[in-house]
Symmetry: C2
C-alpha cells in the first residue's frame, strides 16, 4: 500500500469514528485496532485494507450496513428524476455518449475517504459540460456491439441510477450487472439494484465478497467464471480499478472519475478528471 493511501485510510478511520463514535470505549477500541491494521498492512492492497477497516467497524459498532442512510438518500435523490435524466439522454445528439458520461459522473458520490458535494444535482449538470480527459468510449461501444456477453461491475449507490440509464441505453441482450456480496461503504448491493429496478434492464448478480473493489480471487467462483467468459468487462469506479489495474484480459474498460492524485497519475490524468479507458494488455 502506498503512503498516500495510508493518509486516506487514516481519514477513513476518523470519518468512521466520528460517525459511529458515541460509545467512547468502543471508539477507542476501533481506533487502536484500525491504526494497527493501517500501520501493518504495507503488503496488503488498498481495497483489502479498506475492507478490514470496515469489517472492524461493523464488528465493533455492531452495525452491518454502516452507510444505509446515505445510500438510500443518494438512490432516492437520483432515482426521483430518472425520467428527466432519461430525457436528457434521449434528446441529445449522441445518447450513448451522454449516458456514458452520466454513468462516469455518478462516480462523484462516495462516502469513503472522499467527500460528497452538498448539491449533487448542480454538480452533475456542471460536470456534464466537462470533457473527458481520457475517452476510449468508441472502442468500448464497438467492443460491446460485437460482444455476446457483457459483465458490468457496479460501484456505488446513487451512481447505480446512472448505471441503469446507461445499461438501458446500451440495450445489450446479455449484460450482467454485479453488486457487492455485503454492504461496504456506500457500494451497491442487491438492495440498491432492487431500489432502482435494475432487474428490469439486465441480469443482476452478487460478486460474493465485501471488498470496496473487485478482488477477483476472493469473489465467488460464479463471478470468476463470468469474468473469464465475458466478451467485454466494464469496471465502474476507482475501487474496482484498484483491484483490476494489473489485469491482462482483453476488452476490459474502466469508467471512473479519478479520485486521488495517485490513481490520476497512474492513468496520466488529473484528480477529478473523467475517464473511459481500456486496460493495458
Amino acid at each position: 500500500m502506498n503512503s498516500e493511501c495510508l493518509v486516506c485510510q487514516a481519514k477513513t478511520i476518523n470519518h468512521i469514528a466520528n460517525k459511529f463514535g458515541s460509545d467512547k470505549k468502543a471508539t477507542a477500541k476501533f481506533k487502536e485496532e484500525a491504526n494497527y491494521i493501517v500501520a501493518n498492512s504495507q503488503s496488503l492492497s488498498t481495497p483489502y485494507s479498506g475492507l478490514l477497516l470496515h469489517r472492524l467497524a461493523k464488528r465493533i459498532f455492531k452495525t452491518e450496513n454502516l452507510y444505509a442512510n446515505e445510500k438510500l438518500k443518494a438512490n432516492k435523490l437520483l432515482h426521483l428524476n430518472y425520467s428527466y435524466w432519461k430525457s436528457l439522454v434521449s434528446n441529445s445528439d449522441n445518447p450513448m455518449h451522454v449516458a456514458a458520461k452520466l454513468a462516469v459522473i455518478g462516480n462523484i458520490i462516495d462516502y469513503g475517504a472522499h467527500s460528497v458535494p452538498d448539491d449533487i444535482l448542480s454538480e452533475i449538470n456542471h460536470l456534464l459540460e466537462k470533457e473527458f480527459a481520457l475517452n476510449e468510449s468508441e472502442e468500448m461501444f464497438e467492443a460491446i456491439n460485437n460482444a455476446k456477453t457483457v459483465l458490468y461491475l457496479g460501484d456505488n449507490a446513487g451512481e447505480i441510477v446512472f448505471d441503469k440509464l446507461f445499461i438501458e441505453t446500451l440495450n445489450h441482450p446479455n449484460l450482467t450487472f454485479v453488486v457487492r456480496g455485503e454492504p461496504i461503504i456506500n457500494d451497491v448491493t442487491y438492495e440498491d439494484s432492487h431500489f432502482v429496478q435494475m432487474e428490469d434492464v439486465c441480469k443482476v448478480i452478487s460478486n460474493g465478497h465485501d471488498a470496496p473493489s473487485t478482488l477477483l480471487e476472493n469473489c465467488s467462483s460464479e463471478l470468476q467464471k463470468l469474468y473469464r467468459d465475458a466478451d467485454v468487462v466494464i469496471s465502474k469506479g476507482q475501487g474496482n480499478l484498484e483491484g483490476l489495474l494489473d489485469e491482462k484480459r482483453n476488452k476490459l474498460f474502466f469508467m471512473l472519475m479519478a479520485k486521488c492524485d495517485l490513481i490520476a497519475g497512474k492513468l496520466g490524468v488529473k484528480k477529478k478528471d473523467l475517464v473511459i479507458k481500456q486496460n493495458k494488455k
Copy 2:
C-alpha cells in the same frame, strides 16, 4: 511473517475447512479469501494473521465459538481430576515447582495448527518426568514474592485448570488472570474461567481483544494500564510470547511449551521443550 509461519497458517486453513466445510460453497469462499490473507500478510504479525483467518471463519461459517466443544471437553477432562492434581502438587517436595511445571505442561492442549495428543492424561504424566530445557522459575518466584501486583496472561482451555492450580499454590494476594475478549481457537474466555471457578483464587479480566496472543496496542486501555503497572507479568503459551517477544519491560516471564522450530530456535531450545524464561530486557 516468517515462511515457516506461512506453512502453519496453511495448515490452519485446511483444519478449519475440514472441520466446518460441510457447505462446499462457503468452504470455497473461505479458502479463497484465507489464502489471499496468508499470501498477502508478510508485514502482519503471525498472531494477527491468525486472528484474521479465524474472524473470516466465524463470518463465513456463521459460528462465533469455533472450538466450543473442544474447549469444554478439555476443561472437563482436566477439571474432573482437580483434587488429584492438587494432591500431586501438595504431596510433592516442591509444590511450587510441580504446580509451575503442570501449568507449562497444560500448554500441550492446542487446537490451532498443532495437534492434541489422544491420551492427554498419560501425556501429562509422561511430561512431568521431563526436565525444563530452560528454567528461570527461581527468578520468577522471587519476583512474585516481592511483587505487590501480578498480571497473569491466560492461554488455552484445559490448560486453565493447571493455571488455577498454580495460582492457588502461589497464593498471591493481588494477582489478576487475563482471558481473551472473544473466542479465538481454544483460547480462554470468561466462559472457561467461570467453568474452572478461577474467580475463587484471583481476579479475572478480559483483555478486550480476540487475537490468539496479547497484542497490547489492540487490547483494552484497562488491560494496557494493568500491564504497565503490574510488578510482574506472567505470559502463558507460545501465542502470548509471539505478541510480547520484543517487549522491553521488567519482570516479564514466559511459561510455555515451544510448539515449533522457529520459536524453539528463538528461545535456544528444541520443539516440545518446557520453558520458564524471563524476557530479554
